[in-house]
């Protein structure tokens, strides 16, 4: 049994937990020859600590991080998990209607100056309006829950935040100025390029090909269930900590919209192109020593 | 200036942990006239320091009453207290220890130097107390009490730990200061000779709980109190009141 186990770090109320809970609840792991174990943690940083510490086999993060670590010599690899991306949110009565209107405004940015959504937003503003948002607007970096509160209290004019936080704001009547998917599209990329995914040690995956495959199958089955069944979501509701029905629906729909499509050579080439863009804006602080998307960033199956 | 009057019906230290309560003073009454120098004698532990603390206003937890000498302008009297232990501030120099007690408005600058020199401490004004001998720290404490030009001077065995000539010189200094300004003095000592030499009156305390058991005026003129006269007076006291003074 031990060699079937797949241990994953999850945020206790995070979206990954919903997916994996569905896997467990329906015995999809057993059905696919693995034993799924979840380590619930309280913050994103904790998940990366747990992977480094060898306490789990997998965590969820974006492939830019994977690229950076690979370039730094840590052989990790990536499997897509979601295409759901953040959004720029403003109050419903906000005079801000376009990117250019953000100039001179207080803009909350979740995740810090290297956040992918923020980088892409800057790229678009530069390309569309010739605007350097980092200086034209007044970015305020902070923890996402704090930024939400600040926006509600009227201390911020807009926030760039992760999708669950955007969904909560939307449920409260805030307006989505621009989704990050829209930004991708405007920059000439596919809307539904997955950015976040399951990340794991390449060697571990090579040594246990059965587990990876079983994991992929199990999670795919879970997603199919979640895409189709509302009843499934009622079951998950306690895990979602939705304050009310509106938030619940926004979270559910957000998740469904983020279920990734096919992940073939074409999508991966697209990702490589996006990496070049991010490297140009983010520079070494973001990508470290990686010159281009390192070989093996995306998991190709145990054969490679 | 009025007199000093203290009446202690009961002064009791409460029991703490295993130690029982202790009655330190009972039915004690005492009046000291303005400008009088009164010596207190009594066995160790009979409550002399307790009484001085009460008079100094440090201990208000007693049954009885206290009235201090008040000056014409009715301000509270300046008190000089030579504690039984020197109680200097170890983190201040000798000079600062004395100056801090003084009221800069009232006292001239030269006074400290003068008093330190009179106490044989001329070279030690800038020294910290822990670098002095015990006798020297006692002298600093004396200087401090003198320097405030007190209306009421409380002295708890001020001249122990001093060699006889130094002690004698300081006794002279005390008398000089006392005669220069009218100062009410309460002087605790274990040395009957010293009490006779200095006092207008000698009060003898009982073993604990302390009470005044004898009140003896020293009937020798001040300018006639040489060693022989003191010794003679002492002999007479011991012979006349063997119950009170034997062994003193």
């Amino acid at each position: 049994q031990a060699d079937e186990s797949v241990r994953v770090a999850v945020l206790k109320f995070g979206t990954v937990n919903w997916e994996l809970d569905t896997v467990q609840a329906h015995g999809l792991d057993r059905a696919n020859g693995i034993a799924l174990e979840m380590l619930p943690l309280a913050g994103k940083s904790a998940t990366s600590v747990s992977l480094q510490a060898g306490a789990v086999d997998m965590m969820v993060t974006d492939w830019v991080w994977v690229a950076r670590q690979r370039a730094a010599g840590m052989a990790v690899s990536f499997l897509p998990y979601s295409t759901a991306l953040g959004a720029v949110m403003v109050p419903s009565d906000s005079p801000v209607t376009s990117l250019a209107d953000l100039a001179g405004r207080k803009l909350g940015v979740a995740g810090g100056p290297l956040d992918k959504s923020w980088l892409l937003l800057q790229a678009l503003a530069r390309r569309q309006d010739g605007l350097d948002l980092a200086t034209a607007a007044e970015p305020v970096f902070g923890a996402p829950p704090l930024l939400n509160e600040q926006l509600i209290d009227g201390r911020l004019d807009a926030v760039v935040t992760f999708w669950p936080y955007a969904a909560r704001l939307e449920a409260r009547g805030y307006r989505r100025l621009l989704g990050v998917a829209d930004i991708l599209q405007a920059l000439g990329f596919a809307r539904d390029l997955p950015l976040v995914g399951y990340v794991f040690d390449e060697r571990w995956a090579q040594e246990h090909p059965g587990r990876i495959e079983g994991f992929v199958e199990a999670t795919a089955a879970a997603r199919r269930l979640m895409a189709g069944s509302d009843a499934e979501w009622q079951r998950l509701r306690p895990l979602m900590q939705a304050e009310d029905d509106a938030v619940f629906r926004a979270l559910r729909d957000g998740f469904r919209a983020g279920i990734p499509g096919p992940w073939g050579k074409a999508e991966q080439a697209e990702a490589a192109r996006l990496f070049e863009l991010l490297r140009r804006i983010g520079g070494p602080p973001l990508v470290g020593t990686a010159e281009h998307l390192p070989e093996g960033t995306f998991w190709q199956g145990s054969s490679n | 200036m009025s007199d000093l009057a203290v009446r202690v019906a009961l002064k009791r230290y409460d029991a703490v942990a295993e130690a029982p309560a202790h009655v330190a003073l009972r039915d004690l009454a005492l009046t000291v006239r303005h400008g009088e120098l009164v010596c207190l004698l009594g066995p160790s532990g009979c409550g002399k320091s307790t009484l001085l603390n009460i008079v100094a206003g440090l201990d208000e937890r007693f049954e009885g009453s206290l009235s201090l000498p008040r000056s014409a302008d009715d301000r509270p009297p300046a008190i000089g207290y030579v504690f039984q232990e020197p109680r200097l501030l170890p983190w201040r120099t000798v000079r600062r220890n004395v100056e801090l007690a003084m009221d800069p408005a009232r006292h001239g600058a030269g006074l400290v130097e003068e008093l330190l020199a009179a106490a044989g401490l001329a070279g030690f004004a800038e020294a910290y107390p822990q670098r002095l001998s015990l006798g020297m720290t006692r002298r600093v404490a004396l200087v401090r009490a003198f320097a405030v030009e007190p209306d009421l001077l409380l002295m708890d065995e001020p001249f122990v730990s001093l060699d006889a000539p130094t002690a004698q010189q300081l006794r002279r200094l005390l008398l000089e200061i006392w005669q220069r300004r009218p100062t009410t003095v309460l002087f605790v000592t274990h040395d009957l000779r010293e009490a006779i030499q200095l006092g207008d009156r000698i009060l003898l305390f009982s073993p604990p709980p302390g009470r005044v058991v004898a009140d003896i005026p020293v009937a020798i003129p001040r300018d006639a109190r040489d060693e022989a006269a003191v010794e003679a007076f002492r002999r007479r006291l011991i012979d006349e009141r063997p119950g009170d003074f034997r062994g003193l």
Binding site: F13, L41, A42, V49, A53, G54, P145 | -
Partner: protein, 252 residues
Amino acid sequence: MRRRRSPGFPWPLLASTLLLLLLWQLLAMALDSRNLPGPAAVAAVLVAQTASGALPYNLAVTLARVAASFFLALTLGVAIGLALGRWRDLDRFFDPWLILFLNVPALVTIILCYVWFGLGEAAAVLAVTLNKVPLVVVTTREGMRALDPGTLEMARVFRFGPWKTLRHVVLPQLAPFLMTAARTGLSLIWKIVLVVELLGRSSGVGFELNLYFQLFDVAAILAYTVAFVAVVQAIELGLLQPLERRVNRWRR
């Protein structure tokens, strides 16, 4: 300037707590914001979380970590502090190390402990201990520097030997410093434990607090805070204050 409490019923505690609750209630009413729920709202959460067993469980888990780290940190810290206070050369040499360890961000120790020793209980307790030890060392050493040389000389002349000297001459003089270390230690360790739990444990108050932070559920956050404060208050009344009274018995 000295406090000697008689054990009786703690009236001031009651009055003070009531006033605090009142002020809190007034403030909550004045602000009327979901960012500061009133005592009633917090009490409701407290009751609910207690009934569900979540609060007692997480509190117990955290307290166990706090207790382990507290005893480790105090023992180690006092031992090192005594040594540094006793031997001047040792102190001079290790002073820079102490400053280093004093100023290593909690984040760094925690990550390194987790990465090296795995995401286990031992690593968590070790990380907290490493964060607190230097503070105890500094406090103890400062106390050692203020020792009265007179009593030490007495102990030397009368051949007390190291053990008797430590127990009867040094430690009683260090008591106020050790009390400081204990009082501030408890609160600090608790604060660090929260971060430690946030970064790598799946239970405990720190873990819960952060979840509620993500949901911005201030009432729940305050409920956990109140529960912990109540525990510390109980330790204070039941342990520290009686101990202090005992230790200070000798003061006049």
